[in-house]
């Protein structure tokens, strides 16, 4: 290639940079408009004072042209109240607990599924993957209602267990934490299966043979080779399940009992029952911080792990 041709090529790339800016800019703009701006709005509301009006809060900034004064009133009371009242702390802790437990069980259920799909051959694999994604084609709400049918006192599960004779009287499953766990594990399973599958599918099968050749029994080779190599998938899946599970509202509302305390529900109550928008906003902001911080930490440690 001659020098001029090289230069021309270089210029061409430079011109394309506009296109690249555009391509990267659209999602950035989208995120800015629909995530960052609403976040700022919510943050603003969380610093205001509640009142009985429409909308039900007093603006931070009060501009009076006639009297010629501008006042900025920031109310930290909502945040202080969050930490004063144990109720909120309990709700956060209980949400995190439910999310952690259900993420763990989702992982337990999803791993064998993902492993089997990754080991299946060609056409079978496509079919199995389709089956994992299939539930998304039905409304999420419908599927949760279906679980109510399964779990209720005279539902399918109880009927079956009674007929078989394992139990004498129906189990109380609906409106317990147990039902919430079932609901979350069931709903978020695909989010765990897919990243696990993509991690396991990339894995070279001869690594397992190498481990066995060097003296590993199948269980050992799983913990020493398969699991460490699937770790990126495990982390991605756990993050994808944990985050929405913490803020989950529909599942605890429909399947959980009165004492199933989750932050999504608290938020709903503050907003729609108490009509305390500033308090609801503060709850939301704190939840975001609680979620974002650990995820950033995980991402950081992952980045370092790859750099070594």
């Amino acid at each position: 290639m001659s020098m001029t041709a090289k230069l021309q090529k270089y210029n061409f790339i430079k011109k394309v940079n506009w296109g690249r800016t555009f391509v990267a800019g659209v999602p950035a703009f989208w995120l800015g408009l629909f995530f960052f701006v609403p976040f700022l709005v919510v943050f603003k509301i969380s610093l205001s004072e509640a009142t009985i009006a429409i909308p039900p809060y007093i603006d931070l900034l009060d501009v009076d042209m006639e009297e010629a004064y501008i006042s900025l009133k920031i109310n930290l009371g909502n945040y202080l109240f969050l930490f004063e009242d144990d109720f909120y702390l309990d709700a956060y802790l209980s949400s995190v607990k439910i999310a952690v437990v259900s993420t763990f069980f989702t992982l337990l259920v999803a791993f064998p599924i993902a492993y089997a799909i990754a080991k299946a051959d060609g056409s079978k694999r496509v079919l199995l993957l389709a089956l994992v994604i299939l539930p998304f084609w039905t409304s999420f709400l419908l599927r949760v209602y279906a679980w109510m049918e399964f779990l209720k006192k005279n539902g399918l599960v109880n009927e079956f267990l009674l007929t078989v004779g394992i139990i004498d009287e129906p189990l109380i499953m609906l409106q317990t934490d147990f039902a919430v766990y079932i609901g979350i594990v069931y709903t978020y399973l695909p989010f765990m299966v897919l990243p696990l599958y993509s991690a396991l599918e990339k894995m070279d099968g001869t690594l397992i043979e190498a481990a066995q050749d060097l003296g590993c029994k199948p269980m050992q080779s799983f913990f020493l080779v398969t699991l460490p190599l699937a770790m990126p998938g495990v982390i991605a899946g756990c993050v994808l399940v944990f985050i929405p599970a913490v803020g989950e509202f529909v599942i605890p509302a429909l399947l959980g009992g009165a004492d199933t305390l989750m932050i999504g529900r608290v938020l709903w109550d503050e907003f729609f029952l108490n009509r305390d928008w500033p308090m609801a906003s503060a709850v939301a902001i704190v939840m975001l911080v609680v979620l974002v911080l650990p995820i950033m930490l995980i991402r950081n440690s992952q980045g370092k792990g790859e750099a070594v």
Binding site: D204, E209, D213, L214, G215, Q220, L229
Partner: protein
Amino acid sequence: MTFSEQIVPSSILTPDAQLPLWKQDGAEPFLRIENITKNFGEFKAVDNISLDIYKKELFCLLGGSGSGKSTLLRMLAGFEEPTSGRILIDGVDMAGIQPWERPVNMMFQSYALFPHLSVADNVAFGLKREGIAKAEINKRVAEMLGMVQLGHLGKRKPHQLSGGQRQRVALARALIKRPKLLLLDEPLGALDKKLREETQFELINIQEELGVTFVVVTHDQEEAMTLATRIGVMNQGIIVQTDEPHDVYEYPNSKFVADFVGSVNMFEGKVIQDQPDSVQIESKEAGTTLFVNHGINCSPDQIVHVAIRPEKIRITKSEPEKGVNCIQGEIEEIAYMGSLSVFRVRLPSGKEVRVTQPNFTRSMGDRFTWKDTVFLHWDDDSSVVLTS
């Protein structure tokens, strides 16, 4: 050190010390493969193979893809169960013995290094499973890395190594458990030519130093030639010929072996005179009667093939005095390859003959050129008659 005890070759203590074990009568094989068959559905990957391999041998299974050589190796490692037959290692039947229980280690074609572990941890992997004390493990890993000249790279991850370094890590990892039998699947396949040649000799040195029995699978006949004490040539699930490299090359027992190992010219012909120590074959392809100085078992008038290697044919412009095994032809193509030249000569019968000749001189002056009419001739002990 336990190594030095193992190094003393037991063959020295036996009376027929001058003969290799496989030529001694009644020598006990270290690895005995008895009538092994492996079917995958309808497909016979390995078809009733029996083979004895002796201690400290470096045995090469040579064959093309689909010849069953890898399947045989995988059965030795325990990754595949034979459909029928027995495998005995050091006298112990391997039936039902799992890969992790066998006194066998394998070096994989892809090396199969654990990407999440450092070089040192990869090498230590096998020892850690045996519950050996940490200090002992560290000592042996350092020793082994020293032997494969990777002592300074113990902390690296596999993806930070070159192909040749990875190959040596794989070898170190497979050797550290001091297996009785080491299986190597295309050990040099992923290396470039120069590195291959160096590594071949390294591999032989290590094998001699440790006295481990090696079974190597390869499709590369050059690799098999340089490495092996004996070669088993495989085709379609059976071993066609088992011999020392020299014998496989010079005395192939079939057209397949002659053709697969090295290149060869073959002339079809009819036996016209068959004596105990010589044969005469009339060949239309060669356009003359060919003399071969060894006897064969054949019926009169049988159609046979005379095989002659390209480097054993002399090529001259003038007719040689002794007119035996001499044919005339026209040079059609010349390939200059530095150390030697390859000629393609067309015979009047239309048959094409390949001849290689070392480039004795640097000058181009009296070299052959295209369209030259030349005489090709060879001695009667240079060719082999193949009946199958």
